[in-house]
């Protein structure tokens, strides 16, 4: 027989879940007096920007990333509060665990937003809209907060849907309607279409995603290069990017730019690296991954002009992957000792990669005398520290040498 059996891949089912006005809602949750009032989270000084605005505040036109000054003008009766990052991080753990209760394939985008791959879970959890409803219900039960959910066959469509559904929304789009749904939307809704590209698009007479989808790929390629072909695919609903859960991501990093440049040999620099190592260890353990490679990154205080500085990296791979902050910072410090550059240091950071998922681990009775005598003690110490950090905040207990306040990272890659 000539019949060819074709195995068609079933459409993916991807949810994008995004907490409604996360920081502001947490403030209203913790302080009942704020409920129903326009709450604006952000720097209270007029130099800051709004990081989150409750829906009551949004009615006045207040938006995230708006300068606080402007927000005050728009909403003079608003309650302006400084953010409490520790608290948001704490709530985000519950948020995350709710997402993870629906699928192990959760790709967090920030504290309050994630992609969740629900493909193949229909039999377990039911049809997508039921899953969405269950997710919203469970989120409200567990956190008291509201999440909006978009479910679609692609990441991009799911994100657009959750945005459109806000507040307190739930939208689902079947695979067969993706291009139809995208067509009337303005072309800037596509990921990667920034101001410059948009201008060029408009010049080429492309205003909607549908118009982009109908354009000749060759023409797009001429205008935008290979990026044009990518945009054409996105416009046609083709977005094969998978949901990549934390434990499959490539790396973790913590770095900070110092208020003043530091000597390479200074104790202060070492303390900062120790604090970064601790923070990385905590993040690895919380995500249940271990890293094999540690990279030290330094930016030297030797201006190259145009605000640029030379960046130097040094890496070392461990025999066994680790999630221990001490081991990570020890490697970073050993790498630092090998740096010969005379310059002062402007920025220091540690990145870890080559990640492996931590498997459940049976602890041993006689481990203190086993092959790796310190492992289990350290592991137990870390576990105890993690539970303290969870209960009382990250800086409850730190290593004597770590200077957490100075090492507050100016950048955390996520």
């Amino acid at each position: 027989m000539d019949a060819v059996c074709e195995i068609s891949h079933p459409a993916r089912v991807i949810a994008h879940a995004d907490m409604d006005a996360f920081y502001a809602s947490v403030e209203q949750l913790d302080n009942p007096a704020l409920r129903g009032r326009p709450v604006i989270v952000g720097g209270r000084s007029n130099r800051g920007v709004v990081t989150s605005a409750s829906y009551e505040a949004r009615r006045y036109g207040v938006r995230s990333a708006m300068p606080t000054v402007q927000a005050r003008r728009l909403c003079p009766d608003g309650v302006f509060v400084a953010g409490r990052m520790d608290r948001y991080v704490e709530v985000s753990r519950t948020v995350r665990s709710v997402f993870e209760s629906f699928s192990p394939m959760v790709e967090p985008l920030s504290l309050d937003e994630a992609f969740i791959d629900l493909t193949g879970s229909e039999r377990l959890l039911g049809p997508p809209l039921d899953v969405g409803r269950a997710m919203k219900r469970r989120m409200h039960e567990e956190t008291g907060l509201v999440v909006s959910v978009g479910i679609a066959p692609t990441k991009m469509a799911a994100k657009i849907l959750s945005d459109m559904s806000k507040p307190d929304g739930l939208l689902y789009l079947g695979a067969e309607y993706v291009t139809e749904f995208l067509a009337p939307l303005p072309v800037e809704r596509l990921w990667g279409v920034g101001r410059v590209t948009l201008k060029k698009m408009h010049a080429a007479g492309i205003h909607t995603i549908g118009e982009l989808a109908a354009s000749e790929p060759a023409v797009l390629k001429a205008h935008f290069g290979s990026f044009g072909a990518h945009l054409h695919e996105l416009a046609n609903g083709i977005d094969p990017r998978p949901v990549i859960p934390d434990w499959q991501r490539k790396s973790y990093g913590e770095e900070s730019t110092f208020p003043r440049d530091l000597e390479r040999a200074s104790l202060e620099l070492r303390r900062i690296l120790i604090a970064h190592g601790e923070a990385l260890g905590r993040r690895l353990r919380s995500d249940r991954v271990r890293a094999r490679t540690v990279t030290l990154k330094l930016k030297l205080a030797r201006p190259l002009g145009e605000g640029r500085y030379p960046v130097l990296t040094r890496s070392f791979s461990l025999e066994r992957p680790t999630d221990d902050g001490v081991e990570i910072s020890n490697v970073a410090l050993a790498l630092l000792d090998r740096v010969r550059e005379p310059d002062r240091i402007r920025l220091a950071g540690i990145h870890v990669h080559n990640l492996e998922r931590s498997e459940p681990r049976q602890m041993g009775l006689f481990e203190a005398s086993a092959a790796h005598p310190r492992d289990s003690k350290r592991e137990r110490l870390n576990q105890a520290l993690d539970s303290l950090a969870k209960r009382f905040g990250e800086e409850t207990v730190t290593r004597g040498l770590a200077r957490a306040e100075r090492a507050a990272p100016t950048r955390r890659d996520k």
């Binding site: 459940p360 009775l365 006689f366 592991e379």
Partner: protein, 381 residues
């Protein structure tokens, strides 16, 4: 003249000896049972060089020649036969003919002179290296049922990993004069039981290999609850019951300092019904990871919640009411480690579960039998 033996008695004896023969069969003779005429009976012997068992069966005719036969095949033949008698006759060149009713089997035996000595014989003859244990010579005389109970409550915790030779058996010592203690551990959990045995005393302890102890245990089920005597002689442990004797080489090695890993005190203790806990963990285990069998035990005011999650299958939770008023916390365990110990605790018994925090060992005890202690390390889930 051949052997004529009652099928029933023969089968019973064969089932005792065939557990010992070497399964891997790298040395053919170790897969065989030696059959010798002894004073009008036949004597069956099997050994894997570490453990040996011999037993005598009365018979109509004991023959006049020793012979060997593949133990497993012989056992199967006798088990499947319906006739009341089995006759065995040597043919030429170690060939042997078996007759049961109208069925005939012709089997190749091996030269009985190549059959290895029992561990007991070789040790007693001193053909092996001199005993390193300074010539221990102790006997433990104890009711068969009590010894069986001690073995049952410990042997399951022995390490299956033969490379960890010092954990590959049950440790026996006189923890105090007149008190016998058995301890077994695989490095993740530990099971320990004490029993009063008047007059029992010894310096230090011995490690009795798992396989030999298991074979010895089978013997204890035969012949009521009379007293038996376990002999410890140099490198050897042996026990004789009626016409059957099991002997085994003791494990050379230092048993780890088990006392150091038994928590002196735990922060919390809850009492649960053995049956309820067993059933709840069995149900939770259904959804636990197939490789790690992890289940979570979460304590909160008045409740113990047992749960498991499987990303592929789903999740399971079950809550038991318990008398608890401490901090909320959750601890992971390998479900098998809990199920196995509950399996050797009699039904309708209360058990206490002692815990301190998520990284410290859990302790299981039986309020009605305080001589039993089980320690289990948690699993980081």
């Amino acid at each position: 003249m051949g052997i004529v033996v009652d099928r029933e008695a023969f089968l019973n004896s064969l089932s005792l000896v065939q557990g010992i023969v070497e399964r891997r069969n790298t040395v053919p003779i170790l897969g065989h049972v030696l059959i010798e005429p002894v004073d009008g009976s036949i004597k069956l012997s099997a050994t894997d060089l570490e453990v040996g068992i011999s037993t005598e069966v009365a018979c109509k005719s004991a023959g006049d020649k020793s012979l060997t036969l593949n133990a497993r095949k012989l056992f199967e033949i006798v088990r499947e036969t319906e006739s009341e008698q089995v006759s065995i006759a040597p043919l030429e060149k170690d060939w042997i003919e078996l007759k049961c009713g109208r069925a005939r089997f012709k089997m190749m035996g091996l030269d009985p002179r190549s059959f290895p000595a029992m561990p007991s014989q070789s040790a007693r003859k001193g053909t092996e290296a001199a005993p390193k244990r300074g010539g221990i010579k102790v006997s433990l005389t104890i009711a068969a049922g009590v010894l069986a109970g001690m073995i049952d409550k410990t042997i399951f915790a022995v390490s299956p990993d033969e490379a960890r030779y010092n954990l590959s058996g049950v440790y026996l010592e006189a923890c105090e004069p007149g008190k016998a203690r058995m301890v077994a551990t695989d490095g993740h959990r530990l099971s320990m039981i004490d029993r009063q045995v008047s007059g029992f005393a010894m310096e230090g302890g011995v490690i009795i290999p798992r396989k030999g102890l298991g074979e010895l245990r089978k013997l204890l089920d035969q012949g009521g609850d009379a007293e038996v005597t376990l002999l410890l002689d140099g490198q050897l442990a042996s026990l004789k019951r009626g016409a059957t004797e099991v002997s085994m080489r003791l494990v050379e090695g230092e048993f780890p300092d088990y006392r150091g890993v038994i928590p002196k005190q735990s922060k919390y203790a809850i009492t649960v019904k053995r049956d309820e806990l067993l059933a709840a963990i069995k149900r939770a285990e259904i959804f636990s990871n197939e490789r790690y069998h992890g289940v979570k035990l979460a304590l909160a005011s008045g409740t113990l919640t047992i749960s498991s999650t499987s990303p592929e299958m789903g999740e399971a939770t079950e809550t038991l009411d318990v008398d608890y008023s401490g901090d909320e916390f959750a601890i992971g365990f390998n479900a098998s480690y809990i199920l196995q110990v509950l399996g050797v605790i009699p039904p309708e018994t209360d058990v206490t579960l002692e815990l301190s925090d998520e990284v410290s060992p859990g302790v299981i005890q039986i309020p009605s039998d305080t001589a039993f202690t089980y320690v289990v390390m948690p699993m980081r889930l």
